[in-house]
């Protein structure tokens, strides 16, 4: 029952360091610009983290729209079937942008 649920979900903090020296801490939902995850099944959500570089797609709203060069880091963990796996990336926006972050619901099935 719901054995695949929550896989690819982030827990942790994004930190945005602006060129003016300001530091902004954001939750994963803040980075997505959402108040909550959608009611659709997780495997239909195209911002699950299957590989580390999926973080770049996850944070594209911040990386692509922040004014001027920005430095975005993430410290936390990602949900896997083996539990929370630590995930620390110092420069999220420097990760390669992948064409399809979560092709075909790669995070697995769920009830």
């Amino acid at each position: 029952m719901f054995s695949g649920g929550g896989v690819g979900v982030l827990k942790g903090t994004f930190t945005l360091r602006r060129t003016d020296g300001a530091v902004v801490h954001m939750t994963p939902l803040d980075v997505l610009g959402l108040k909550r995850y959608p009611s659709t099944p997780p495997d239909e959500f195209d911002h699950l983290i299957v590989e580390d570089h999926d973080l770049r797609n996850f944070a594209s709203r911040v990386c692509d729209h922040s004014t001027g060069p920005a430095h975005l880091s993430f410290h936390g963990a990602v949900g896997t079937r083996q539990g929370w796996q630590p995930l620390d990336v110092e420069d999220v926006c420097a990760l390669p942008l992948t064409a399809s972050p979560n092709p075909g619901g790669a995070a697995g099935d769920r009830t």
């Binding site: 029952m1 939902l29 099944p41 539990g83």
Partner: protein
């Protein structure tokens, strides 16, 4: 000697006929759940091709026949075939979302096994026609009884499901509460029950209880004298899943399948008492 062996085998393998009311009720419940799950996606206005239109028409026809109990066994087998098509291809005229999920598999397998039961003999148009036929011939009403090996397979399926789902969770990731925390992070972030994420020890305790209950149910549903405890616990577990987690039709299907657990004849007598027919109830 050979005759004695044959009699012994016959005694051991003979299947007593029992009440078909539980599987009649299960048939109605499954048909309604299947309609609730798929009807919106298989409506004609979602269909783009003529061949799809025929499949969707077939789906509604056989599912409603299954619900009403008209040509019941054939209709139920056709519904099972439709669910096979949906589960294994993701398409049935129209594409179906979440087609390869556990809740669809459960509906498919339960309906398949139901088609192996005499689910036409109670609460059905077929039953009404049989009664009318008997009246015309001046015969006594046909008994609502049949061989229920298919029902026993449904119970076996329930037990296997509980066992393997418990095995699947028997690791540190689940028992430590991490997997439940991940699920709740997705489900409840930004919602009032997000507060649950602040109590990881409670999530770990809940995870352990869930796995223990599932192992218990895997065994307990086969021990009839434990049913007075097992059935309420199981129904509570599924009701909790239903309101707390996005499990689609899974929980309600499992709760409906609990109709296969009690002794069919006891349930028959209970239904007679419920309807005030105890004094004219059929005798075992």
């Amino acid at each position: 000697m050979r005759a004695q062996i044959a009699r012994f085998i016959e005694r051991r393998t003979a299947e007593p006929e029992q009440s078909t009311r539980p599987i009649g009720l299960l048939r109605i419940a499954l048909a309604l759940i299947i309609l609730a799950r798929f009807a919106a996606e298989l409506t004609f206005f979602n269909t783009l091709e003529a061949s799809g239109l025929i499949l969707c028409l077939l789906f509604f026809t056989v599912t409603i026949m299954m619900l009403a109990g008209y040509m019941t066994r054939i209709a139920t087998a056709c519904v099972a075939g439709s669910l096979f098509e949906i589960y294994f291809t993701g398409s049935y005229g129209n594409s179906v979302t979440q087609w390869n999920h556990h809740h669809v598999y459960l509906l498919m397998s339960a309906t398949t096994l139901l088609a192996c039961t005499p689910c036409d003999r109670s609460y059905s148009v077929d039953r009404y026609r049989a009664l009318r036929n008997a009246e015309r011939k001046g015969e006594s009403p046909p008994p609502e009884r049949g061989r229920l090996w298919g029902q026993r397979l449904i119970v076996l399926q329930l037990g296997a499901l509980y066992f393997w789902t418990a095995v699947d969770k028997s690791d540190w990731a689940f028992l430590s509460g991490q997997r439940l925390e991940q699920i709740l992070t997705w489900t409840y972030s930004g919602r009032p029950l997000e507060i649950l994420l602040d109590f990881p020890f409670i999530l770990a305790a809940i995870s352990i209880v869930v796995v223990a209950v599932e192992y218990g149910l895997a065994l307990g549903i086969f021990v009839r004298r434990w049913h007075r405890f097992v059935i309420p616990i199981g129904l509570t577990l599924h009701a909790s899943f239903y309101v707390l987690l996005p499990v689609e039709t899974y929980s309600i299907t499992m709760m409906a399948l609990y109709l296969t657990l009690p002794d069919p004849d006891s349930l028959h007598r209970f239904l007679d008492r419920l309807q005030g027919h105890a004094t004219v109830a059929y005798r075992l």
